[in-house]
Symmetry: C2
Subunit: 335 residues, 2 copies
Amino acid sequence: MTHTATEIHLARRPEGWPVPEDFTTVTTDLPEPGPGQVLIRNRFISVDPYMRGKMNDVPSYTPPYQLNTPMDGGAIGVVEASGAENIAVGRTVLHQGGWRDRALLDATEVRVVDEAQVSSLSAYLNGLGMTGLTAYTGLLDVANFKPGDTVFVSGAAGAVGQMVGQIAKLKGAKRVIGSAGSTEKVTYLTERLGFDTAFNYKDGPVSEQLKAAAPDGIDVYFDNVGGDHLEAAISSMNVNGRIAICGAISQYNATTPPTAPRNLALFIGKRITMTGFLVLDRFDRMKDFIADIAPHLASGKIVTEETIVDGIDNTVNAFLGMLRGENVGKMLVRV
Amino acid sequence: MTHTATEIHLARRPEGWPVPEDFTTVTTDLPEPGPGQVLIRNRFISVDPYMRGKMNDVPSYTPPYQLNTPMDGGAIGVVEASGAENIAVGRTVLHQGGWRDRALLDATEVRVVDEAQVSSLSAYLNGLGMTGLTAYTGLLDVANFKPGDTVFVSGAAGAVGQMVGQIAKLKGAKRVIGSAGSTEKVTYLTERLGFDTAFNYKDGPVSEQLKAAAPDGIDVYFDNVGGDHLEAAISSMNVNGRIAICGAISQYNATTPPTAPRNLALFIGKRITMTGFLVLDRFDRMKDFIADIAPHLASGKIVTEETIVDGIDNTVNAFLGMLRGENVGKMLVRV
């Protein structure tokens, strides 16, 4: 017996903004799992900003995507057939076999999760997963957040940003400020997530809007976007300020050199520390993170919005929409 | 009895590069020291890059210079008259009453030093003083230098730069690379100070020269200059690289926004940490620094070149020459 899989392949490397023609949809037949293998029917697929970088053929912290093979990425699904002694059919598994509706993987590549622990399996790709761990370790370990800090987060209505702001509030931030790209998102941040204030970066210069939002300056900046947000944050930074660089989504599709902060000399008098980080270095904090944050996710004290697109055939649209900022919270494909 | 002092005052605030007309030389009569005061005849006066910043009327980590009063700055001199019980005439004192040949100060503002410990009193303004402490703490504490690191330092033939490179070699650097602004300085770095390699940043793009000098990348960048050096260092940085921002002399006289690094997104994949610092936060390390480094200064294992200009009337020329990079090592005025 074979299992039909629909896979999204990278057909060519995008120049600047990806277009649908950069991808192809391929239908393939997967065999029965061999010994130690599992065949998974995916339920949710994650589309993330970092994937844009892997579409370029440049050396980076992970190898670039290969053309005409299934791309990888976070996904969660149910085991349909198993050749692995320790993973029964029907179990839910978290894995990197995304961008497809069925995946045949080694059992060593998947992690069995407790489906009863969450109201939706998507939580394992969002608040309880890498997204949450990114926010948690970036804020607490990289930016060295302390109670009483004023925190600014860009891309605040995105998957990571929404958790950064809420964790900061939960841990005793004096003030949490978010920036986002629409009025709807700004309202979401202040009305739903409890940000003290937020602004739409399209409404005017970020530096001016941030100064108005943080008249006493900021102590921590959690950077998801790069560009002029970073310059503005440096300008508003208090002495001993800390910057965690998590992403630079404003630049991922740039074909010309991005806006660069011209005020780095302020690092000296302000004693600023800026650190880039990757969540893949931070897995040793997963247990602490789950113990600390899972109860707040369960109680609804931390909200993790999702923007869900249905159907494997819409995966490329979901990915492009996420790059354009069409999501509130985590962008996911439901298969 | 009075004591005639020649003082350099700031007459107006420079626009861009300072010119001699921004300063005036004022002769004044100082009275006998009152109780708790000392009258000092200066021997050496320090001129430093940070002083340029204090000539602007902008809030910073120290107050700006006031117009038509003596500027302050590091100096060392001999007590000519004393109203302080604990400081006898003839003692050598280190203090902040620079930019003048005589200074009347409170005893609490001076530190008595041991003139017999050094071959020249200038050492207290150079290797044994704030300059040395800046290099030591910037490299070891801020940039978190580890044996085996490859270190790049800009402004390497300057007061701080020359010590950074030598301390790095002493502490087990794999490779030390310096940049400077003349062939003479490049030769000084490699022939006299033991840098593994050095280049003249005026000979071509810094990024290309650095890549050639450090084919295996760098682990630490000690930044004295800012601008395109910083972009080049980020580009050549290895994973877990560290940047200490000590100065940005290329920008201090800029009237247009400086060159800015457009490659900050590399901070993420490379997990780079960049920290600005001021030596005034680091005085708690002075004892460790002296214990560690003084023997190497005494033995000549660490060389601290000086460029000495004679005469209080040449203080402004010395300062301007230092900004133009005319010094090798520490620029000092001998009074």
